[in-house]
Amino acid sequence: MILEALEREDVEYIFGYPGGANLPIYQHLPDHPKLKHILVRHEQGAAHMADGYARACGKPGVVFATSGPGALNLVTGLATAYMDSVPMIAITGQVASTQVGRDAFQETDVIGATSSVTKHSYLVTSIDQLPRVIHEAFHIATTGRPGPVLIDICKDVQQANAEPVGRERLDIPGYQLNGHVDLDRAGEAARAVAGAERPVILAGHGVILSHAEAELREFAEKAGAPVGTTLLGVGAFPVNHPLSLHMTGFMGTGWNLKAVQNADVLMMVGMRVDDRVTARLADFAPNVKTFIHIDIDGSEMGKNVRPHVELVADAKNALGAMTPHIGELHEGRGQWFSQIDAWREEHPLKYTHSNGHLQPQDVLIDMYRRCRNEAIVVADVGQNQIWAALWWNYDRPGLFLNSGGSGTMGFALPAAIGAKFGRPDKAVWCVAGEGGFVMTAQELSVAVEHQLDIKIVILNNFSLGMVRQFQDDFYGGVRSQSDLTHMPDFVKLADAYGLPAIRVDRFDEIGPAMDAAEKTKGPFLIDFRIDPEANVYPIVPLGKSLNDFWEAPDK
């Protein structure tokens, strides 16, 4: 009954792991060849694969896990999806309904453990609830602000027989998609941006989720307003566009931060305005007279920054409603653009490559030269993530996937696997540090088993690079427990898993290694042993304002 319901929801892939409390589902899986099950090597891997799948192709990712430890292993992956508003359905086995509460074998209160990291969750104790619950779960996961929904199904329910039913009509009184665009306010917002002397637009993940990139571009061009993106908004606006401010936030570009801090009108679209965007909140965008906030989730209004104009709507509807009201532009706009150009000249992205070490930026620039905007890049968390965000000029959504809100190390490899299942037509590159890579490296087996054409780039700096950088700069230079000298030989590790790999230590080896990776069908790993002292710049020191960003030292 569960599997039939999944077929009705057009599920293609399930990422899962069997165990005692979900075996009844697995018993019937072979009878449903339309449902392709990917056996993972750890449940966290399943959650990240489903997440990468959903981010890459837009359909909800589906996960199976058993009760207790199986379900608990999903928690990090659920939190990752929840923070980044990724649609996912997790179906977990639970002990029999008569055993619940008796500390049965592998029993855990999964609803309790996951409530804070799911959009919604269900405990199913009777077969009658099942068709309604599954249909509702898909609806809730994929509509409004998307997110993961967990369905915990007691084992006896999985074994119960019931007449097959059709898709039920939805009736969820507590779930109204009450997003609305107040057209008067939309006009006011549009005129505020157009009439501003120094407007800035910041675009977040919501622009990508609502497919509003064309609307954003049209609005920005007509209103003559420069656009920066958040880390999750990377790709919402083309980096090479003359109005682009590239990435914002505490590791954003210098010219972006200057523009935000000097703006008189700031429009924030589809974003949460979190601490990584604002740095010290009291000093965020201090010259702004009018904050405009657009988000589909009304609870984001005033959560961190109180807007003067709020539009509760998805970015596509809101921007579409605003554009006709743009009207006259402020005459000082030319001066604002020259000022931003001056900042761009004054604070360019830069890095050192004179110390003889392999620089991560050189690796990424070579990758970008090959892939342009045809490949999906899935980054892990840490320095590798910021480098991959800043050194590629993404021109459209869906090319750069990463765990932005939750910052989950170990995300990249399984998410890249999921992304490849979701978009088999696209080249998929996984960029990870060696620290995050080993956290979920067991999923290499999945890549090899399915001969997935993914290229794994390890930026190996023999340390927890971001931690080491923070320790050097903000924690008294004490390099405490951030050394990762003792790691496996990644070429041998790849060999053990059954995929080809190359080690690269020098600049002139980058090209040939990339050639080999591109020529190889199936998974390929490159261990780039980079400068152990390489840092991410710009960076705003912890607790400081966006004004105080540090730049790469000139050497």
């Binding site: 409530s115 804070s116 959009k119 507590g174 989730d297 009304g298 005033g302 959560k303």
Partner: protein, 160 residues
């Protein structure tokens, strides 16, 4: 509690929820993890089958006042929320108390009802608004208070 005027950070919310095994823990879990604090909570069936009404007094801490309502609205179990802070509402709290003294005329005068009297003391009940409940509790101390149980307020908007 309700015997003192509420500080500005406290919101009074009347919340209609779907009855379910997870509802109360989801409501209270959300309040906790958003950094809010429950000052009082009372739950009972509503007029509609399968739905309960929760009356909450919540200290929203450092968050903007409307965050409590907005965050609760995100729960699928929550059907309707009314923020009745500072509104024209009927607010009632029930107090059941045991006092040593058998002489409870002063309490009865205030509106208490005697539930039973025995050699160990007298049990009384009282229902009223926040301030009246506060005054009543003060009065209880004069009568040698032994034990007290309070329901927390339930609130409904006035018809006129």
């Amino acid at each position: 509690m309700s015997d003192h005027p509420l500080p500005e950070r406290v919101r009074v919310l009347s919340v209609l929820v779907e009855d379910g095994p997870n509802t109360l823990s989801k409501v209270s879990g959300l309040i906790r993890r958003r950094g809010f604090h429950v000052r009082s909570i009372s739950v009972g069936p509503s007029r509609q089958a399968g739905r309960s009404r929760i009356t909450l007094q919540i200290d929203h801490g450092h968050a903007e006042a409307d965050q409590v309502r907005k965050q609760l609205e995100r729960l699928v179990e929550v059907i309707e929320i009314e923020d009745v802070t500072g509104q024209l509402v009927h607010s009632r709290e029930l107090v059941v108390a045991k006092v040593k003294s058998a002489e409870v005329a002063g309490l009865v005068e205030k509106g208490a009802k005697v539930l039973d009297t025995g050699p160990d003391g007298t049990t009384v009940e009282f229902a009223g608004e926040g301030k009246d409940v506060g005054d009543f509790i003060d009065e209880l101390f004069q009568h040698g208070i032994l034990d007290v149980a309070r329901s927390g307020p339930v609130v409904l908007r006035r018809t006129a």
